[in-house]
């Protein structure tokens, strides 16, 4: 259980570091969905009830962390994503870069669609904007590109906290 907390803590630190680091690299117009990467990682490593609870906590933290959003939205998206991902990932190993990027890209698009759907249903201030769709797709692309690095980081933390390396780690 502690290793899951480590993964969540790393995801949280990445979220905090994201804005200043991207600004430092001159990429302030991009953003990466670290929460989504952590969810997919947990779905592939811990597809059971514990993973689900951890993902729900991570989603809730993200909700409070991101200004402007509706509380509970990220929690819902991450939980649904986890439940879908665990059934898909039981047939697919994320031990290569390209499949991983594809899974993350598809998950990001799914997350964007869920965001739009939940906004329509629950957010009174919501009104459709094509800009949001484009920004979401840009985020999906950026997340897919950075996903191998984030997975490597999560893998490292997860492996360290288990005192042994996972043979399915990336770039093997």
């Amino acid at each position: 259980m502690i290793r899951h907390f480590f993964v969540i803590a790393v995801a949280f630190v990445c979220m905090i570091l994201q804005v200043p680091l991207l600004k430092l690299l001159g990429l302030q117009n991009f953003s990466i969905d670290v929460t989504l990467c952590a969810t997919i990682f947990l779905a592939s490593m811990t597809p059971g009830a514990l993973g689900l609870v951890m993902v729900a906590i991570l989603g809730l933290v993200t909700d409070f962390f991101m200004p402007g959003g509706l509380a509970g939205m990220q929690m819902e998206i991450q939980v649904v994503l986890f439940l879908l991902a665990r059934s898909v990932l039981s047939r697919l190993q994320l031990n290569r870069v390209v499949p991983l990027m594809l899974v993350i890209a598809v998950s990001s698009v799914f997350s964007l669609l869920m965001f739009l759907l939940l906004s329509v249903v629950f957010d009174r201030a919501y009104s459709y904007s094509s800009t949001i769709l484009l920004a979401g797709l840009a985020q999906a692309l950026a997340t897919a590109l950075f996903a191998p690095l984030l997975f490597k980081l999560f893998d490292l933390v997860d492996g360290r906290s288990r005192r042994s390396r996972d043979p399915r780690s990336l770039f093997v």
């Binding site: 905090i16 953003s31 962390f65 959003g69 509970g72 649904v80």
Partner: protein, 293 residues
Amino acid sequence: MWYWLFRHRLSVLGTLLVILPVLIMYIAGNSRHESGRLETAVGTVAGWSQEGVGEAVESVDGFGARVRSLFSFNDEMSRLKAENERLLGEALTARRFSDENGELRRLLGLRESRDDLKMMPAEIVVRDVNPYFRIERIRLKVPEGVEGARPTPGNAVITDVGLIGRVTEMRGAFSDVMLVSDYRSRVAAQVSGTGVIGMVVGSGRKAGYVARLQVSMTEPILQKGAAVVTSGHDRVFPRGIEIGYILDPEKRKQAGPFMEYDIGLAVDPATAEIVMVVTEMAVADALKAFVVK
């Protein structure tokens, strides 16, 4: 029963964790303004950590630059460079203080020029962290000896140059500010010197700080560069605060019953560090006199 629950724990948990956020969203959607204790606590922690990490990354970057420069030359050159950098650092610090001083003076000027408004200063802590909303998180600087001066959702956030947005949520000492460029933002506006009134609607674009002005189809074509200011009709934003200027009237387009103009916004939030929150308008005091008790 416990055995059944244990056996089907994933399904039970999955169902609960799908329903729970829906309930949270429903409650949050109906009361979006004041946060609960948990939201306030987590929001405050997030605000402090975001502010701290932002400052830490900036200092690490400065330190890294100094280390690189020290190792790139011989000892004497290194000493001279270090000396030079120290002086440059001092000059930059002086410049920063000077800029900050200038900004504070301008804000003080704004405060004096708009004595019809009660304002309090706030510092921008976080800029855009997600692709969907144009929200910034600010930390309020409550002046000493001022009791009860606390912004509420809906309060306008301005600088000496113009309008930034409005407070949408309070989380302890931190507030979320919806920028004028957020696609959900609506500001009652008028074109200065023409009497044309309309509504400024956020564009939602991350790159390029622009919005759209919607005016009636019957209005004459607006001039390029015409200033757009708040009209005060929405009773949210005080009258006469500059929002922006008309960009290119040739690119105007029809949107339903309105004519839409692109406007460049007066304030680029990326350059603003300290802002003023309008906690109360004098007109509000005047209106209280008419309240039937």
